[in-house]
Every structure is written in C-alpha cells, then in structure tokens.
C-alpha cells in the first residue's frame, strides 16, 4: 500500500478530508453514471440507420419544464456539497489550539526543512518528530509555516492536506497522528531546481519515545573525545566555509543557511531524504553534492580525500 495514499488517513485533518471526499466522490459518480447513461442511450438509439428516408426529424426548440428541472436539481446538489464543504473547512482551519498542543516552527528552504521546537529549545532539520495523539485526549502538533526564500508546501498526505510556506506570509496547520510510525511526503509547491527531492519524513512516536528523543536533541553532541583524528576533522570543518552555513551547538559553527548538524547522526537520511545517512553517502555528499541532488545549494567543498575522511568522521560523532 502506498505510504502517501490520501485515502489512508492517520490523523484528524486527513480523516475529515477523507470523510468529505467519499461523499463528494459518490455524488459526482452518481451524476456521471446518470449523464453517461443518457449519452450512451442517445448515441445508440438515435443514430441514423442506413436506408433511412432522408427526412429531417421533428425539430424541438426547447422545453421550459425540462430546462427548469436540470437547473434546479444541480443547484440543489451544489448547495448540499457547499454546505458539507463549509463545515469541514471550519473544523480544520478554525480548530482551537489546545494548551497541550506541541508547537513546531517549520521554515522552508531551497531544498530542505528547518524545524524549531521553541518549548524545548531544539533545532533540527528534515526529519520531524512528533508525539502520537490519543483521540480520547488529543495532543496535536501545531506547525507554524514560514519560508526563508521561495514558496514551498508541506504535504504529508496521510496526516493532513497541504499548506503552503510563503515568505512574509506565516501560515499554520495542525496534525494529531493516531498511530506511531514513519509518514512520508514531499514539498508540493515548485520552489526551484531540486523541488523534487525536498522530501518529508514525519516520525510519530509514542510519548515516552518522543520525550527521549527530545532529551537527546537537547544534549550537546558527543565527539568531545580527545582523539587526534577527530579533532583534525573538526578543525577541517571549522576552518572551511562549513561554519558559514551550518550550526553545531557548542562549537563556533553557527550558520543558518543550511541544516543544523548538531545531531546529524540521529537522522536516517541526509539531503532532505535524498540519500540514506550512511558513511558512503555522507562522504559523497560533502565531496560532490551534485551527484546526489544536482542543483542543491550545497557547494562541492573541494576537499582532499584525506580531509574528506576526517570531516566525515567528525560529523559521524554528532549523535
């Protein structure tokens, strides 16, 4: 089964949309069957038969009754659909934010996602962790959507409809996933060359697991071991342009153009889902990003093989 199927909702907004969509699909299907039947009948019954006399059929110019009927009935259908729609719009868009809600500030970048949890004072990128929400005692996550550059759109079909991230136009959406698991999606508003690989991964975790994740994110990274090779890698990182774009808490790297790398190794993927977070891929990404995501904003750093190994080793200590 597709992990991005809109008909497999796992959260209330997606569920509300799903319920409405069934009503709408049934309605339009009924209309289609009715009108198609008329068309098929007309095409068969009123075709010109060979050997027919060449007289013209009876000319009918109109019929007020019939025309009234097929104005009024569609109008009624339209009213019914509109009312049902208005209800769901209100229930999703104007839902009150409960005090138990978790807030995450999502900032879209070309071509990665920045996540800030103000309550916990943590910053991460590309893989969003949220707690499961019990339908009996909901603990939804409210996302504030911002953009650092062009327009983006946050779309994880099984959790909610998409909402755009537009610079100078903050938006808000919410999810309350009912089951734990990994939910996939991707950016849904063309934002530039690598729009296609601005993937979304939402990890929905049971409450204890989520809290453990938060605590890990709040710690400063390991990698303080006084191993010569490691500090060589850190030296490479801190003396090249890496620190201009990336942040590693507790060090002098505090750039914000690229993803926060403080807990890089707690993520399963890199480059916003474009590659798995393995030694080989990490090294390749630093060596030649275009091999994985051509047109991304990460430049090829032009490091020697030895420096590459050192920097990769250093990054692999950022758990």
């Amino acid at each position: 089964m597709s992990p991005t199927n809109i008909f497999a909702p796992a959260s209330t907004p997606a569920q509300s949309i799903f319920g409405l969509s069934i009503f709408v699909i049934l309605t339009v299907s009924a209309i289609f069957i009715f009108v198609f039947a008329l068309l098929a009948y007309a095409v068969v019954k009123f075709r010109n038969r060979h050997g027919d006399d060449r007289t013209e059929p009876v000319q009918v110019y109109g019929s007020t009754q019939v025309e009234l009927a097929w104005t009024v009935i569609p109008a009624l259908i339209v009213i019914a659909l509109s009312l049902a729609t208005a209800r769901v719009i209100a229930s999703v868009q104007d839902a009150a934010r409960p005090p138990s809600a978790l807030e995450v500030i999502v900032t879209g970048h070309q071509y990665w996602w920045e996540y800030r949890y103000p309550k916990f004072n943590i910053v991460t990128a590309n893989e969003l962790h949220v707690p499961v929400s019990d339908p009996a005692h909901p603990t939804p996550t409210f996302l504030t959507l911002l953009s650092a550059d062009t327009d983006h759109s946050f779309w994880v079909p099984r959790l909610a409809g998409k909402t755009d991230l537009i610079p100078n136009h903050p938006n808000s959406m919410w999810i309350d996933p009912h089951e734990p698991g990994l939910f996939l999606g991707q950016c849904a508003q063309y934002c530039g060359t690598q729009h296609a690989k601005m993937l979304l991964r939402v990890y929905v975790q049971p409450r204890e697991e989520f809290e453990r994740w938060v605590q890990e994110q709040q710690k400063l990274p390991h990698g303080a071991a006084p191993d010569a090779a490691l500090s060589a890698g850190r030296r490479v990182f801190e003396s090249t342009a890496c620190i201009n774009c990336h942040t590693v808490s507790g060090t002098l790297a505090n750039g914000r153009f690229g993803p926060d790398l403080t807990h890089l190794m707690s993520r399963e993927t890199i480059a916003s889902g474009a590659a798995p977070n393995t030694h080989q891929m990490l090294r390749l990404w630093i060596q030649n990003p275009d091999a994985i995501k051509p047109g991304s904003k990460m430049p090829a750093m032009g490091l020697s093989d030895q420096d590459l190994d050192r920097v990769t080793a250093y990054l692999e200590t950022l758990r």
Binding site: S2, I6, A14, S16, I17, L20, F32, V35, F36, L39, A42, V43, F46, R47, N48, E56, P57, Q59, V60, G62, S63, V66, E67, W70, T71, P74, V78, L81, T85, A86, V88, I89, V92, Q93, D94, L145, T150, D151, S153, W155, P157, T163, D164, I166, P167, N168, H169, Q186, A188, Q189, Y190, C191, T193, Q194, H195, A196, K197, L199, P294, G295
Partner: protein, 556 residues
Amino acid sequence: MSTNTIALSELPVPRPITLRLHEWVTTVDHKRLGILYILYALTFLIVGGIEATIMRLQLIRPHNDLVSPQFFNQMFTMHGTTMIFFAAMPLVFGFANYLVPLMIGARDMAFPRLNAFSFWMTALGGLLLYFSFLGGDGLYGGGGAPDVGWFAYAPLTAKTFSVGHSTDYWTLSLLSSGIGSIGTAINIIATILCMRCPGMTLGKMPLLAWLNLTMAGLVILAVSPLTAAQLMLLVDRYLGGHFFDTQAGGSAVIWMHFFWIFGHPEVYVLVIPAFAFASEIIPVFSRKAIFGYPVMVLATVAIGFISMSVWAHHMFTVGMTSGANTFFVLSTMAISVPTGIKIFNWLATMWGGKIRFATPMLFCVGFLFQFLIGGLTGVTLAVAPFDWQLGNSYYLVAHFHYVIVGAILFAAFAAFYYWFPKVSGKMYNEALGKLFFWLFFIGFHLTFDFMHIPGLLGMPRRIYTYEPGRGWDIWNLIVTIGVVFQAAAILVFAANLIWSYFRGKAAGNDPWDAWTLEWSTGSPPPAYNYAVIPTVRSRRPLWDLKHPEDPDWRYE
C-alpha cells in the same frame, strides 16, 4: 445563382511564390489571418507535445536520468506556456477570425489592419519565448529558457532566484501576445456588435457568435490583469521595485491573486469557443436545431460573469481565511450549474435526432464524454479540503488536461474537420479521420485517466523524478505509453491534412447539408465572402431556404 465577378484566386496564371508569400505576410483578410493563426497554433501544438513527451519519458520510471532537473523544469514551464498562449489561444482566435464574419454575413472583421497587427504580435510572442533557448544564458548553462513554471510564482521570479534573462523572455513574450489577444478581442466584439447582416438581431445570430462575443469580453477583462502583473514584475526585476519583494514587505500572494484573476477566466476563454464548436456541429449531425437557444446564451453569459469570481480556488492552500475559502468554494460550485445546463442541452439536441457519426461528430461525442468527466473532477477540486490534498498533485494535472485536451482540443478537432471542406474546398479522407479519432481517443484515455491515480497516492506536480516505493511507478509507465498513441494519431492527422489538400474531392458549398450562412457561399469563400450581403429572418437561414414550408422563424 451565379455571379459575374471572378475571384482573384480563379486567375489562370500561377503567380510566383514570392508574390504569394508576400500576400500572406501582408494580408488583412480575416480568412487568411484565421488560417495563419491555426497553422501557427498547430505548429506549437507539436512543439508543446514534444516537450510533454520528453517529460513523460523522464518520468517513465523513478530516479530516471534522461534529462537533468534544470532541463526538466524548463520543459514543464515551456510546455505550459506554449500550449496555453501559443497553441490554444491562437487556435481559438484563428477559428473566431475565420468564422465570425462569415457566420454573421459580413465581409471582414471590423478592423482588418488591427487584426493583422494582433496576429503578428502574437507570433512575435512565440518567437521571443523560443529565442530564450538561445539567448538568456541561464545560470546552469542549459540555454536560457524560463524554468519558473507557467504561472511563475513570486518570489521565484525575482532577480535573486531567477538569475539571467530566462524569466524576462517569459514576461516579454506574454506581454507581446497579450497585446495581440486584446486587439483580437476588440475586433471580435466590434465585428459582432456592428457588422451583422440585416435581420440578424442578437437573438438570431449563431451561437458561435454569442460564445465568441462572451469569450472576447473575458479576454478584455482577464488578459489585462496579466499585462498589469507582467509590468509590475518588470518594474521589480529592472527598476528595483518591490511589488513582489517579500524582503521589503511585498507580497508573494498578491502575484497569485493577480495571476489567477487572469488565469481562471483564461480557461473559460479557451473552453467557451469549444462550446461554440459543439453548439454548431452537434445540431447539424443530429439533424435538429440546438435545444434551448435562449438558455444556452444566458448560461454562457452567466459562465462568463461567474468565472471572474472564482480565481482563488487556485489558492486554497495558500492560507486564506476559512471565510474566503468558503466564498470561493461557493462561487466555483455555482459555475457548475450553467455548465451542466449546457451539457444537458447538447444531449437534448441529440435526443430524437438522426445522428450521423462523421469525424466531426465523433470528436463532439468525445468532447461531451470528456467534458463531463473533467467538469466533475473540477467539482471535486472545488471542495477546498479535498483540494488541500489534491491541489498541485497529478490529480490536478489530470483534471486540467482532461478539460484542455479532452474537451477543448477534441472540440477543436471536430471544428477542424467540420470546416476543413469550407476552408480548403476539399473533403478530407473520412477513413483517416476516424483512425485519427480512435488513436487519439485511446492515447488520451491511457494517459489522462490513469494520471489521476498517482495524484490520489500523493504525487505532486513539477517534479523531475520521484521515489520508488510510493506506488506511483506503474501508473507513470501507463501514462507515458499513452503518449505513443497520441503521437501516432498526430501523424495520421498530418497525413490526412496533406492528402486531403492535394487529393481530396471537391467539397462544394455545403457538404454537410448545414444551416448557417457560411455554407451558402463558395468553398473556399471568395475574398469578399458574399456577392450580396444576405438578409436573414431566423437563426438557421439555410434551413428556412431548404424548408420553405416549415421555416424556423415560425417557432422562434
């Protein structure tokens, strides 16, 4: 009844090719300009089709590397821009140009020189857009074709994010063709209001004239906002303006509003002429008058008006208030009522008739079937929360191609085959016509029926590749296979065109036994259209002549 004048085209001495080309380039005759528009449109239809084929080949499997992301992004931008502005619009204007004066009993359009000017401005637009491949020198060295999507959302079009001149070629080409469009619209309105033949009141003119009148009104009201937005974009990019500069407090959303205030009526500009073709062709091949002429007029005008109030249904995901979203749901739903009325009226025209399934009628039945489906998927998209899932996905792409290809292009092919005998004087090859229809029908449905599914499974649009394991692979493969049939169909179409032009048998004035004025004059019509300006008394003047015992004017 014969005339004593000899049309210029009857001169026995063949004239040199340079003189003939010169005549075509300097013509102000609405019929020649109509043909120029249509040939121009068919050329760009093929170019746009090639761009689509490249995209479909790239998407045939996940993680394909046939083309680079940069090139793919140029392809979807050029495909959309080309098809809307340099295939569909010129097609619509070409038919309007050729048919409107003939069908209202006039000798030409109201402003023949403006007509020529408008065509060449449109042609210049297409030239500018494609010159961008050579000029423009985009950042990635792949040539400078625009890559910002056909609706060019801000701030992607700002100088910061769109380095080089590729976006400027997009802007300038649309400015040029926009001027051409507005000029043609002025011409159509003035022609219809001021040059109808005696007796042809507004209530007696063919539906094609009413529908083109509505379309022209929409062009005037809708293309102008696009022109304004383009000027603002140029101010931003070249004079340091801040209309859409979010860093300076400007709004990206206001570009969306301005664009879609154009963009939505634009699709009605394209579909209303398709309605016109159906409204002329279905009656003739069903052998019955159109059912409910007055309501068809009212419904069309209503569609025109309402279409100006629905634009933000393209913006449901942008973060408007629930009130605003609900308003646009209502207005969008409302437009489906007059649209549905028209479908029922066409069905009622066929009902009780004696339907002949020549190629034009096959395409009209295809139009009806596909417009029904495309309209209904439009209704599903009007449900804003459903649009929050389906918007910007392949379901949306399937919907609008269903209407633009399945309805508009099918109706255009119906029109092409119906009026080809009038324009060329020759009958087309009916077997090839039917083959073309079936090949295109199969290809269309393979591609666009199955295209809905990846959208329902979460596939967004405008992506040069996609991840395996999301369930999208098989559907993308089927969609691409449909292209093969459509391409084959177009080859058959071209073959038929060429064959018929040289070897088609003479069509005569009125091969279809039809009822509107253009069938009373020669095929092709002489340069002056009518030796004597006709006087009419009903909506079907030739029916009255052929059935003097039972004329239409007794019933109207």
